[in-house]
């Protein structure tokens, strides 16, 4: 049997092995599930070395003579001090430094992501636009305000105005959830369709 034949056979067997869970929990499914986790871990390791650590750390250090890169390994090993209770504080030191950096980066991210969203929410409600655009603008603004009111937990929704607004926001949120559900169904079906297509057509190639 050729290499392609072996690959196709294994692929079909693996697919059917996973599908056996639909009948009931069984040892074949468990075995292939563990094989998958092992392969995913092994793939992650090989790609990490080939495309991240080797070109960005090992080669500069050993082939280009930049020996100070060894200190990055020392810093990286701080992650593993979490297993040694006496030195576990070092892993926290590294984690909080990285978190601090990420927090600093997040400020500029917030400005660039949400400020355009905010400005795009200020839509004309009274200008002489075509009626359907005015209608859409009103719907958008009302929806944003009511849904945000629904999520205001800093104060109690006591007054009728606030309660009513929040209630309307909840109803409008249901439309978004329905849209998400509809999209989720298509996503799941697409994944299944691909596997069925593969089982039907793999032997042709």
């Amino acid at each position: 049997m050729s290499l392609e034949g072996v690959i196709t056979l294994l692929a079909c067997i693996s697919t059917l092995a996973i599908f056996t869970i639909l009948y009931k929990e069984n040892p074949i499914y468990r075995l292939f599930e563990h094989i998958f986790i092992g392969l995913a871990t092994g793939y992650g390791i090989s790609i990490l070395w080939n495309q991240v650590l080797k070109p960005n750390w090992w080669l500069p250090m050993t082939a280009e003579g930049k020996w100070p890169w060894i200190f990055v390994l020392v810093v990286g090993l701080m992650f593993y001090t979490v297993y040694i209770p006496r030195y576990a504080w070092m892993s926290r030191l590294l984690m909080v430094t990285l978190m601090g950096m990420a927090a600093g980066v997040a400020f500029q991210g917030f400005a660039r992501l949400y400020i355009p969203q905010l400005t795009a929410s200020f839509l004309p409600l009274l200008k002489p636009e075509p009626p359907y655009i005015l209608f859409n603008n009103v719907v958008i603004v009302v929806t944003i305000i009511t849904v945000m009111t629904y999520f205001f937990f800093s104060f109690e929704h006591r007054s009728r105005a606030v309660k009513g607004t929040a209630s309307l926001g909840r109803w409008l949120l249901m439309v978004a959830f329905g849209a998400i559900f509809g999209s989720t169904v298509m996503a799941r079906m697409a994944l299944l369709t691909y596997r069925l297509w593969y089982l039907l057509t793999a032997w042709r190639s």
């Binding site: 990490l48 080939n50 500029q108 999209s183 996503a187 079906m189 297509w197």
Partner: protein, 288 residues
């Protein structure tokens, strides 16, 4: 009591197996037979298509593939559609990813279509490969691409490839398209579109698509391929615009027919389930 529970569990299992068989059977039937059903291309896919058509050829498009085999059914045809378009339109692009598998799969797709369309690695496209997702790395990428990426997926220096000449920073990118099952597009919107105005396109799985509409409305995204439907729409647009024959490892239009019947089945089951529930509920109320 235990017998009643056992009987109920067994009944549920029987029902489930019937539903599974029905779903699989109907989908297989619709996959086997090619049906030409009406299909309308949405404005989101068209927006991305038209953006790619108008890309300048002296800049580099960046195809970011952050997907793994788990979302093959949606992200694979999206990637295949985009790569074919880049090749047919003659737009240079690079393949990159912050997931280990995506760039590998993207490179394989690019190689297959490059052989068919007479395209060359290093001239028409380049694969930067995988890098870990770290915000400082992203900032480095925005500022200094050769200094941050340095080598391609096989460890070769990027400087040797003609396609990388003159590509220094995010300002030399014509477009970023993120093909992903997660919300990584926000990173590119924040640090590339927000900082230097690089256009960003999005090809998510259908689950993530509803969350992208705010970015489409605020023009932070130029277009979107929503799941397999987006891939099918893009395929229809490619068919309309290009005479060359398109090839698909997994044809999105055929998939849409099978998904159609699955959706009809789901709607029917929801209606049936609710009908049975309310009938039983009314009978119980009448009896009590």
């Amino acid at each position: 009591m235990a017998e009643i529970v056992d009987e109920r569990v067994a009944s549920h299992r029987r029902q489930s197996r019937i539903i599974y068989a029905l779903l699989a059977g109907l989908m297989v039937l619709f996959l086997l037979f090619e049906l030409r059903l009406p299909f309308i291309v949405g404005p989101q896919s068209r927006g991305l298509f038209e953006t790619v058509e108008k890309l300048p050829e002296d800049k580099l498009a960046l195809l970011i593939l952050n997907w793994a085999p788990g979302t093959y059914g949606e992200n694979y045809p999206q990637t295949e559609a985009l790569i074919q378009h880049f090749f047919l339109a003659g737009k240079p692009f690079a393949i990159f990813g912050v997931d280990p598998v995506g760039p590998t799969l993207g490179h394989e797709i690019a190689e297959r279509h490059a052989a068919r369309l007479g395209k060359q690695y290093g001239v028409d496209w380049v694969t930067w490969g995988y890098r870990t997702l770290q915000l400082p790395m992203i900032l480095g990428l925005k500022r200094d691409i050769p200094g941050t990426i340095q080598r391609d997926y096989q460890g070769r220096s990027l400087e040797q490839f003609p396609i990388m000449r003159g590509i220094r920073s995010a300002r030399d990118l014509s477009l970023i398209v993120d093909v992903t099952p997660s919300a990584t597009v926000e990173i590119w919107i924040q640090y590339f579109h927000g900082a230097v105005g690089t256009p960003v396109g999005y090809a998510p799985t259908a689950v993530m698509a509803p969350e992208a509409y705010p970015y489409l409305q605020s023009k932070q995204l130029v277009g979107m391929l929503a799941g397999i439907k987006g891939a099918a729409e893009y395929a229809a647009l490619l068919d309309e615009h290009y005479e060359e024959e398109l090839t698909w490892k997994y044809p999105p239009m055929r998939a849409m027919n099978a998904i159609s019947i699955a959706h009809v089945l789901i709607v029917a089951l929801i209606i049936l389930g609710n009908y049975q529930y309310f009938t039983r509920h009314r009978r119980r109320r009448e009896q009590s």
